[in-house]
């Protein structure tokens, strides 16, 4: 069984909801998710984020739908860490 342990995403989002609410919503997707968010660029209506999510078994699709629900859009998956565990 392969588990995703860490991902770093490049995300574009509107200014609202703010970075704190945005990262909280992503963290709420799983029970042990740790989210680190860095605002790398900002313009009049949008901001570009680097979102690092860590957890024992990340659900990428659920994270993606949380991002989309808040108006964000995924530009790229910049880093991934996965673990293989014998069944």
């Amino acid at each position: 069984m392969v588990y995703v342990k860490r991902i770093v995403l490049d995300v574009l989002k509107p200014h609202q909801p703010n970075a704190l609410e945005f990262s909280r919503s992503i963290a709420e997707v799983g029970e042990d998710y740790h989210v680190r968010l860095i605002v790398s660029e900002m313009d009049e209506n949008t901001e570009t984020l680097l979102v690092e999510v860590k957890g024992s078994a990340l659900d990428f699709n659920a994270i993606l739908s949380a991002i989309n629900e808040l108006g964000g859009s995924l530009h790229s998956i910049d880093e991934v860490e996965v673990n293989s565990v014998p069944e």
Partner: protein, 194 residues
Amino acid sequence: MKLLEQTALLLRITRSHGIIRRYFVVNGFDGALTMLGLIVGFIFGDPANLPVIINACLGAAIALGVSGVSSAYVSETAERKHELAKLERAMVADLQDSTHGDAARWIPMLVALVNGSAPFIMSLLIISPLWLTDHGLSLPISPLYLSVVIALMLIFSLGVVLGRIADISYIRSGLQTVVVALVTVILIYLFVGG
């Protein structure tokens, strides 16, 4: 609880708290002043029985409520659609299924509800002494005068709210709105009672 949290989120992302507060005060003031004008008109004019006065006031209250709901809904829907389209252009994405899309659909309804209910509730409070007397309750003073007192108190309260928002003396702000109401009463007296 989930509904309240979601509503709070929609208000935050659209920054609509101020708009809703403004609509509540402005249209609440409209409702209170309209009822004050109607009742003072009845006091200064020819005597009419209570059911006639209640029906006239209730008719005006319903009209103010419907006008408030429809005007705010139309204008806020246009405004929210414009904001969403601007955001979609900036994001180069369809945001209809996002929280921003929800906000564009729900915030106009919420604003419309506040805008319509503010004058309607104010009006009902003001005409309540008339209604109570009509249903047999004995009041210490004439129901028309009690309605005027309630109207002035509500108008003062709205002034106090404005004062607190503007962070100025709320007593002064409340008195300013009462002065507006008294000027209205004097004008009605000049036109109707003179």
